[in-house]
Structures are given as structure tokens and as C-alpha cells.
Symmetry: C2
């Protein structure tokens, strides 16, 4: 068994150099959803390949119909060690509205905060470049200290996680034998709090839909046509307002099919976390829970499905006023899924609902933006319990087993297509402002994240 | 009494030169609602002053807090002739979406259409540069033929009609004695059809409101916060969906106070026009009336109040998908008023309604965009009947007395502040696409519009 301490010490001693490497990656503007940044996505993939090759990985950029994948392989020091697949994504969210950033999102820096905290600022520092680099730097520390790795490691870095992962399924299918390991390690999740690491045993699924409602064949003057011509913004408002009932439940036909009530014992554990509507919403300037009635915040965010409008636009939205009735209006809507909810059936039900609300002389177009079922790791999994012990040794408080509100479709795909369970460990915090202006990652998350992977790889070395 | 025929003949003979002058004015990008075009608005005012001075008017550009006014005076040939105030506006609507224009909106041209029709294309050709130039060119024809004008003429050109006329009331108040005439002539309305001129005896008023709903203090990840945090797009959809009941009536408290039913005889005249939902909506690709049930199209657009959403925006509206819950969402809403509906009370009622739908931890900001009551000219007015006879002499079919769906706040201000009635005569057609891409004005409207004003001024010469 590997002697852990020198590996941990070297990781801590080298954290400044590790940071410099992360900064190089953050400076690459790999916004996958915006075609203008296509070349930057490739540049991020190439940077990672160069980095992994310098660590002795057999690493390559792999083309897809969209942004490329990075695949890398490294043997273990011991031939009987387990084989793990590590997954992360190098693409990031768009940065608008840019005027709400305090610093250039693509010029990362470590900044001192009140109370001695130090944060790394920039787009992708938390989601997911900072997180994936914790694993790469853990491997570096092993290589530099022991000359080898405790497990056989395959790495898969994706460049389309923030834009629905259109190339992922075909890629897994075409490279199934190369990518299949004993299990997957995924680093794209959060801690419970700054002192308490967490392993996500459940992940909500996602269905993304964009709808465009069209009425007249041109924009109209609301003086001439108002009160007679159909207004697509009114139709859209009616559609969206009808998605929830007075108790906050989603009204779509069959929406709750496959949703199981969470066991009482688990709900009781979650209640004990003291995460109330006041504490959870207080951090973002709110106080009143807006979803399903009579359920706790952990249950609502980890174990209940939702429907949220992520964007809406129609008519004149510039400065001043324009008395126009728009020809069309559109909205982007996402559904979070739990249990055995079927993404395809939810999409169909939503589309049927929208059509049922549409006047006969208007039309609607639907655009699918990704779809993945929820996934759930058994609470008695040995993988989960080894990782729990390793994390508990690194951090001030013992690791928690929780659920996650966000979707990581890859985990469902690993399960379904490669037959692998996934261990979800991440070091983000809930105030990292991922997907928002002023994204940051705790410097402590970065350093102890590297050390955590060193401990987890050691714990996994013996089957 | 002036001999009319030489004046009419000269107008027709000079129409090409009249067009060249209109083109010069259309080329000036006087978009009043967009601060980027401030200098262009002033340039339009200066162009008009130069033009009017060349016709012997005492014309000046008058500064306001916003875009300038143009005021010009000319005595009548006979000292006992009446004094008329002519009103038009030189500002135009924005031109977005620019990619839906077949030609540059600011490079006007005459284009041949099927059936021998000829149209003038460009932003403002119909609303209102083409229309105001019919009056200027009518004056030119009088001056060049007779050396004088049959009436004493004051001209007022405004530059903020398309952006709520914020400077108009203070300007009328400060210059009341200079601007008060026996009555006003306003050229900003439409014909009934290409052969039938119309005088608008009733005009709907307008209340414009912009609302910004704010929830969390930042944009949120819909995976972490979805189902618990308030979503401002949901709140906005609920507010907007609740504005109308199942019968298409506006639900605001007291909204229908001051709305009188139109006399049966007038409704019967309007019914006889044969303007059905099929014919009216068929032109714009629709077929089903969307407003109040069991009322004819003329009644709905001329004599009933409305609420229309003119614009909405919130969250991510770019390419692709972003799983965000927006910090804020906003909408622009306009109300059309009739009868004695009070703009201030409607605005108050709307704001109270919005607040009543708002969760206690969210906030809303309101921005007023103009407000004016409806106005109504008595059906037995001599002014109206002289103009009706003059128009009937110029066009293939007799002039109609109708209502108008669009708002021209100036007419209410003339009535309230200067004690003047207004005669509303215009030569636009319903397919002129005003406020939309591909705005046009009929060449026939331009030429016969000039001739119509020549006839109307002659009819008004004798009190």
C-alpha cells in the first residue's frame, strides 16, 4: 500500500504551481453553447492533452460532431489495482451579463476575502475546470512522489456539458470498451458546507425544451390590431402560468409517474442538517419557498421534480417603448427529474400540454435541449463507504451522503451504456455563483480537493 | 375664394420634386426612443425648418428637455381667414429586426408593385414623414400658384411621438398663445381603404407601463435552487396571464369605468363596412379574434379598451440553453383607452394588481411610458363635414367617419390645454406595416394626400 503522507505533503507544497496551471486553463474561453467560441473549446482540449502527456498519460484529442473529447490512459503501479474512469468537463457557461462581473471572467486570480478566506475568481474556476484539475494535480503528486499511480486511470474530459452533451452518447457507444472501467469518479458537485465534504448518491435528471409560439405573419401595431389579433406573449404567459398549480405542483399529465416518496429515515437525516428555507434562501436575498408545499428544502432540491423557465423573450425589449404585437415569442424551460421519471414521456406530455393551450390559428415549434433520467447510488455501496472514510480523514467534519439538485447526464449514461456506477465527489460550495457573474472557487477547496483525491485513490487501491 | 384647379394641377405636375424632398427627410434616422439617434432627430428638425423657411414660413427649431420641436407660422392671403394649427411628427419607430427588411429602411425608393401600384418604401414613409409632407407640399403648391395661403397656418412638428411625447405638455403650456388656433389639423391616420378616405372622429388613449420583477439578488443555477427559489419569469407569466379573463375582458379593478357602449346606429354603420374577423385577420395570417367576445372588429379596434404585452424578457435568451433562474424579468404593457377612462386610475389599478400577485420576498419596479385619455369629435361638427366634402371630391369613394385604434396623445392635449378640436385626416393604409419591417406609403396616398389638403384648406377658407 502506498505511503500517503509524502504524496499529500508534496501536493500542499506545490499548490502555487498547481494554481498557475489552473489559471492557464481558465484563461481559455471555452463557452460550449456559443458557436463563436468553437476554437477556444478545442484549445482547452489541446491544453489538457499536453498537460496529461507531461504526466505520462497516453492522451489524445478526439473529434466529435461538436466539441472534442479528451481521453487519456495511465497504468497502475500494481497490476491488480482497480481501474477507474475519471470524468470532468472543460467547457463553461456563457458570461453574460458581463457588466455584473467585478473582474474579467477569463483573467483568474486569487483574492483575499474577509476572515482570511482566499478565493479563485473566474468563469469555470468552480464549474468545472477547478474541480477537474484537483484530480489531475493529485495524479501529478503521485507521479512526482512515487513514480506511479495507485489505480489504473482513464480520464474522459468533455467539452459540451453546459450545452446538453449532444456528442456524448455516440462517443461512449463508439468507445465503450476503451472507456469502461470498474467504476467512474466524477468531480462536478459540491460540499455540504466549507468544512463538510459530501458524496452525492442521487442526481436529478433533466429535460430541456425551447418553444417558439408564432401568431401573425409579421410584427403588428398594437393600436390597429390590439384586442383582435392573437398576441404570442399572452399565449406564452398562459402556457407558463399554467405549468404549476396553487400548491406548486407541476400540472403536466403523468408528470409524477415514477416519482417515489423518499424513505422517512433519509428525510429525517436531511431534516437534521438544519437547512431551512430561511437559511437556504437567505443567502440569495429571498425567504419564502416557491415550490411544492410542505416539503423541506433538501427534499425539494434533491428528491422532487421541478419545472423552471430559464429564459423568455418576445416583442420589443430595448430602451423606451414600442407599441408592437410581436409575431413570435419564445421560452426555454427545464424539468428536473427524480426516481424513474422518463425524460421522453415528460417531453411528450409537455408538448401536448402546450399544443392544448394554443389557439387554432397560431403555431408552435419545439426544440429539444438534452434529456437524461435521474440516477441513484445504493446507500450501502462499498465504493461509497471507502470514499466517505477517505474524505472524513481530510476535512474537519465527517463526509455526508446527500442528493443533488443539478443534473450530470454522464452519470446516467455511464450506468446505462457502460454498466458503471459513479462516485460523485466535488469541492464546490453553494455560494460559488456557478452559471452566474462572479463565479469563484475556494482556494481551500482546490488544495484539499487535490489531497482528497490522493486519499480516495489510496483507499480504492485495495479492492 | 381661391381658384382650386391650378393649385391642384401644379401639385400633380410637381410630384417628383415633392418625392425627392420626402426622400431627404426619410434618410434622416430620427429614431426618438433610442438615445443613440439624438443627433439625427435634431437634424430632421433642422431640415424641416430650412424647408419651411424656403416656403416663406417664419420657422424655428425649439429646444426641449428631449428632442426639439419645429414651430412655423404663415399668414393667410385674406385677413378674415381662419387660423389652423397643423401637427405631424418627424420621429420614427426603431427598425429592428433589421434582417426582416427587404431594403435599407433609411434609403427610400419608389417601387413598382403588381397591378400598377407604386409604393414608397422606408421607415417613416407612412408614419409620419410621408403624411406630414403632404401638408407641406400642399402649402408649396398654394405659394407657387397664388403667392399666398388660403388659411393662416401654424405648424407644429414633434420629435417624440414614438416615445411617449414627454416634452409635449410642457411645450404646449409654455407656448399656448403662440400655438392656439381655431382648430388643429392632424395627419397621422389611415384611409378606410385605397379608394375611401376617412376622418377619425374617435381615438383611443394609451397607458404604457414597464415592469421589472426582481427575486433573488443574483442569477441562480436552476439545479441547485429550482423548486425552492422564486422565479421572476413565473411571477411575470402569472401576472400577464391574469390580465384577461376567459371572455377576453381585462380583469383590472375599475378598468371599464368610463367605457360607454357605442350607439347602435354607429355600430350598424360599422357592421355595414364588411370588416370581419376573417378579412381583417386574414391579411396577417390569422383567423380567430383574440379579444372580447361577441363584438365586431371595428368596435373592438375603435371603441373598446385593451391590454397588450408589447415586450417581455428574462433569463437566458441567446443561442443554446442555460439552466438559470434569472434575478429579474421585465415586460412592457400598453392599455388602449376609450370614452372617459382615466389614464392615471388605470395605471394605479394595474400597479396594485401587479403588487397583489407578487410574493412578499420579491419586488417590482414600475416605469411609466406615456398616458393619454381617449378623445371623441362630435359627429355633427361643421369642421368634420367640410373636410368630408373636400375629401369626397378628391377620391373615388365618399369619405367615411370612423374611429381609430391607435393613440395620438396630442389630440387630447390640444383639446384639454389649448381648447382646440382636431380634424384627423390621413392617407396611410392598413397594410403600410408601420412600426414593422418593410414600412411603405402608397405613392397615390402621397400625391392625392397633397391634393386633399389643397381642397381641405380651400373648404376651410370661408368660416
Amino acid at each position: 500500500m502506498t505511503n500517503l503522507l509524502p504524496v499529500l505533503d508534496r501536493a500542499s507544497a506545490n499548490v502555487s504551481a498547481s494554481l498557475e496551471r489552473l489559471f492557464e486553463l481558465v484563461r481559455i474561453r471555452s463557452i460550449s453553447t456559443d458557436p463563436a467560441y468553437k476554437a477556444e473549446c478545442r484549445r482547452a482540449a489541446e491544453w489538457l492533452v499536453t498537460e496529461l502527456r507531461s504526466l505520462g498519460f497516453d492522451a489524445t484529442v478526439r473529434d466529435t460532431a461538436g466539441h472534442p473529447m479528451v481521453v487519456a490512459h495511465h497504468e497502475a503501479g500494481r497490476p491488480d489495482a482497480p481501474h477507474v474512469l475519471f470524468y470532468g468537463h472543460y467547457d463553461v457557461q456563457p458570461v453574460d451579463p458581463l457588466d455584473q462581473w467585478d473582474h474579467d471572467p477569463f483573467e483568474p486570480a486569487v483574492r483575499d476575502m474577509p476572515g482570511g478566506r482566499r478565493i479563485i475568481t473566474g468563469r469555470g474556476t468552480s464549474d468545472d475546470k477547478g474541480q477537474l484539475m484537483t484530480f489531475v494535480e493529485a495524479c501529478r503528486s503521485y507521479k512526482e512522489t512515487t513514480g506511479s499511480l495507485p489505480c489504473r486511470v482513464t480520464i474522459l474530459f468533455e467539452g459540451e456539458e453546459e450545452s446538453g452533451s449532444p456528442s456524448l452518447k455516440p462517443f461512449l457507444e463508439a468507445n465503450a470498451s476503451e472507456l469502461t472501467a470498474d467504476f467512474a469518479l466524477v468531480c462536478d458537485t459540491s460540499m455540504w458546507d466549507a468544512d463538510t465534504p459530501a458524496i452525492a448518491a442521487g442526481l436529478r435528471g433533466l429535460v430541456g425544451e425551447e418553444i417558439v409560439v408564432r401568431a401573425a405573419d409579421r410584427d403588428l401595431h398594437s393600436g390597429y390590431f390590439g384586442g383582435v389579433a392573437a398576441n404570442p406573449v399572452h399565449i406564452l404567459a398562459d402556457v407558463l402560468a399554467g405549468l404549476h398549480d396553487a400548491d406548486g405542483r407541476v400540472t403536466l399529465d403523468g408528470f409524477y409517474e415514477g416519482v417515489e416518496e423518499t424513505p422517512a429515515a433519509i428525510l429525517a437525516d436531511w431534516e437534521a442538517l438544519g437547512c431551512t428555507a430561511e437559511s437556504f434562501l437567505g443567502e440569495i436575498g429571498l425567504s419564502i419557498p416557491a415550490g411544492e408545499k410542505d416539503r423541506s428544502v433538501p427534499e425539494l432540491t434533491w428528491a422532487r421534480p421541478t419545472a423552471e423557465v430559464n429564459g423568455i423573450t418576445g416583442g420589443y425589449t430595448g430602451e423606451g417603448f414600442k407599441t408592437v404585437i410581436a409575431a413570435e415569442a419564445s421560452a426555454k424551460i427545464s424539468f428536473r427529474l427524480v426516481g424513474k421519471q422518463d425524460p421522453a414521456r415528460i417531453r411528450d406530455s409537455f408538448r401536448a400540454y402546450v399544443r392544448s393551450r394554443l389557439p387554432a390559428d397560431c403555431s408552435v415549434t419545439f426544440h429539444a435541449h438534452g434529456g437524461s433520467p435521474a440516477i441513484q447510488l445504493p446507500y450501502d455501496s462499498p465504493l461509497l463507504n471507502k470514499a466517505k472514510a477517505a474524505l472524513s480523514a481530510e476535512w474537519p467534519k465527517p463526509a455526508l451522503v446527500i442528493g443533488m439538485g443539478g443534473s450530470i447526464p454522464i452519470v446516467g449514461d455511464f450506468q446505462k451504456m457502460l454498466g458503471m456506477e459513479s462516485l460523485l465527489v466535488g469541492f464546490a460550495l453553494s455560494d460559488d455563483r456557478i452559471h452566474s457573474p462572479n463565479e469563484k472557487y475556494e482556494l481551500r477547496s482546490f488544495e484539499k480537493g487535490i489531497r482528497s483525491w490522493i486519499r480516495i485513490l489510496a483507499a480504492l487501491e485495495n479492492r
